[in-house]
């Protein structure tokens, strides 16, 4: 898979936003002094009259977006995930979601894979913070093409949406002919020995683990859970029934993120189901190269493969 073209999800987001700006005239974009980092600079250059820099003031930016949405515009708000979901949490909860307003929030540089800036800027809690709010939709696209489709789906959806984006370049894994439906997970590999449920940057790692395991004779199902909320319960419960064991993988805390969402859902599906979570284990990150950090903090295909093998031993295979 190493020959696949590389693009970051933030880059794809910025490019698609600019494309959609041409077709959808009531898109407006807000940003908090990070337009190059969030790639909203592309839109700003093309449509300066529909781009508003809020300065380093995320709380007000969320409120302004809320107000704009009540006057016929579709505001796309972008900043780093840690500032969107963390700093402006109360504004997202109380002004945007409590009013059920049509605001789209794109949190970039999510997870430990944002790298060198270190733990102050590594959002490992944003999925948890956003999915707990009633009425919020949470999307975590895995690559460039999926990001573009997710953005389109977010805009078509009436209501608040949080989109989680990343800084590192990721391999293209989304098939050009595949479709994207909000709330419908994608099964990327079929298999019945165990299931890996992943989102975002970890989908690539999940695929790599599945390929390696296949060489060892283990057939793993890989689910790309690009919509963490609402979770695709159908695909999930089917996987639980048919494969009998699940590994979740995310560049996020194991508390409150995709793994938690899966566990919450499966608590109703089947008892005695082995579930193993790959994620940040209740600790802050640190500065470093994204690849090194992901290895150090266990966000690797090797760890996923190991977890699958552990599940197989629990299952008694």
């Amino acid at each position: 898979m190493n020959h696949l073209p590389l693009v970051s999800t933030r880059q794809a987001f910025g490019e698609e936003l600019c494309e959609l700006g041409k077709k959808i005239e009531n898109i407006v974009v807000l940003n908090a002094d990070l337009s190059v980092s969030t790639r909203t600079s592309f839109f700003a250059e093309a449509f300066p009259e529909r781009f508003f820099n809020a300065g380093i003031a995320e709380q007000n930016m969320m409120g302004v977006a809320a107000g704009l949405s009540t006057t016929g515009f579709i505001p796309i708000v972008s900043t780093l995930a840690v500032f969107a979901a963390g700093r402006a949490y109360d504004q997202i909860r109380n002004t945007i979601c409590h009013s059920a307003l049509n605001v789209k929030i794109a949190g970039s540089h999510s997870g430990i894979s944002m790298g060198e800036d270190g733990s102050s800027h590594q959002s490992i809690e944003d999925i948890a913070l956003m999915r707990v709010i009633p009425g919020m939709t949470v999307l975590v696209p895995a690559d460039g093409l999926e990001t573009k489709r997710a953005l389109r789906a977010a805009i078509e959806h009436e209501g608040p949406v949080y989109m989680r984006l990343g800084r590192p370049e990721v391999a293209a894994i989304t098939h050009r002919k595949s479709s994207f439906t909000l709330g419908r997970a994608k099964i990327l590999r079929n298999g019945n020995d165990a299931t890996i449920v992943a989102c975002g940057i970890m989908v690539f790692q999940a695929l790599k683990a599945a390929d390696v395991l296949k060489c060892r004779g283990i057939n793993v199902r890989v689910i790309n859970m690009h919509t963490v909320k609402p979770l695709d319960l159908e695909v999930l419960s089917e996987a639980a029934e048919q494969t009998g064991g699940i590994v979740t993988a995310e560049d996020h805390s194991v508390i409150g993120g995709l793994g938690s969402a899966v566990l919450e859902a499966l608590a109703w599906v089947r008892t005695k189901l082995p579930v193993y979570q790959i994620g940040i284990r209740d600790t802050f990150g640190e500065s470093g190269n994204p690849d090194d950090l992901m290895r150090k903090y266990g966000l690797s295909w090797e760890n996923i493969a190991k977890a699958v093998e552990e599940i197989l031993s629990v299952k008694g295979v």
Binding site: V28, E49, R50, F52, A54, G55, A57, Q59, N60, M61, M62, G63, V64, A65, A66, G67, L68, S69, T70, T71, G72, F73, P75, D90, Q91, R93, N94, T95, H98, S99, A100, L101
Partner: protein, 281 residues
């Protein structure tokens, strides 16, 4: 400047009296609610809803309406009384305030109450929403005006000043903020809890045009609203000097009634006191 006829002023003053009675009744009935800060902003709300705002109570989502945001959401009883008197919903519904299954929540909720534009309650957030609305009208070339009522205690919130900075930087002039300067907040006098003066200098430094008014003098309120619309080239704030609990002698200036209602045994005295003011109008 328009000279507002006496009859119009008197009519509005009577509306304010009725609203105050409803607020006292509603909060006592609910055994909770923010009485002091609701009574202090009644005259401003009456002037807005019965004189200044373009709105249509029988069509709350009329696109050409002006917008009003109650940023100090805890003054919901005042807003509900005014909305009921305007005809957004039946006056009888006020007795359901803060009860389960009611459309009248403890703090304003746009998904439940007709006439509420955006949900508020967490302080400091309403001005940003109002500025966003005014920005939307500006970039789409529409004439709708946006009003936001802020508490003085609420000005402790940093987000208010983020919004103030944003509005002047992006030249959002179709916004009028009104500050209910009643000098009280949850823990006591604003001067004691957190000093916010010099308010005029602060707003001016953030690029806003500032007006002052006695927030209980209806004629002055109408005048200042008129003046605030003339030669508008900046976002505008009206600082209204008010009295917490205005209208009921033993609630006036009494911070014990910030987040409290009158006990049942004091209700009749309060209502009678308010009724007694009718003859003085």
């Amino acid at each position: 400047m328009l000279n507002h006829p006496k009859e119009i002023v008197r009519d509005l003053e009577e509306k304010a009296l009725l609203a105050r009675q409803e607020i006292v009744r509603m909060t006592t009935n609910a055994s909770s609610g923010h009485l002091g800060g609701s009574l202090s902003c009644v005259d401003l709300l009456v002037a807005l809803y019965f004189h200044q705002l373009r709105h249509n109570p029988s069509d709350p989502s009329w696109p050409d309406r002006d917008r009003f945001i109650l940023s100090k959401g805890h003054a919901a009883p005042a807003l509900y009384a005014i909305l009921a008197l305007s005809g957004y919903f039946p006056k009888e519904e006020l007795s359901t305030f803060r009860r389960m299954n009611s459309r009248l929540q403890g703090h304003p909720n746009n998904k439940k109450t007709p006439g509420v534009e955006i949900s508020t309650g967490s302080l400091g957030q309403g001005l940003s929403g109002a500025v966003g609305m005014a920005l939307g009208f500006k970039i789409s070339g529409r004439e709708n005006h946006v009003y936001a009522l802020l508490g003085d205690g609420e000005l402790n919130e940093g987000q208010i000043w983020e919004a103030a900075m944003f509005a002047s930087h992006h030249e959002v002039v179709g916004i009028t903020a009104l500050v209910d300067r009643n000098h009280g907040q949850n823990d006591g006098r604003t001067e004691k809890v957190m000093s916010i003066e010099s308010l005029i200098a602060k707003w001016m430094a953030f690029g806003w045009r500032v007006f002052e008014v006695n927030g209980h003098n209806m004629k002055d309120i109408l005048d200042v609203l008129d003046r605030s619309m003339e030669d508008r080239n900046k976002p505008t704030v009206i600082i209204a000097e008010t009295v917490k609990g205005k209208g009921v002698s033993f609630v006036e200036g009494n911070d014990a009634y910030h987040a409290k209602s009158l006990p049942k045994q004091k209700l009749d005295v309060a209502l009678a006191e308010l009724e007694g003011m009718r003859s003085a109008l």
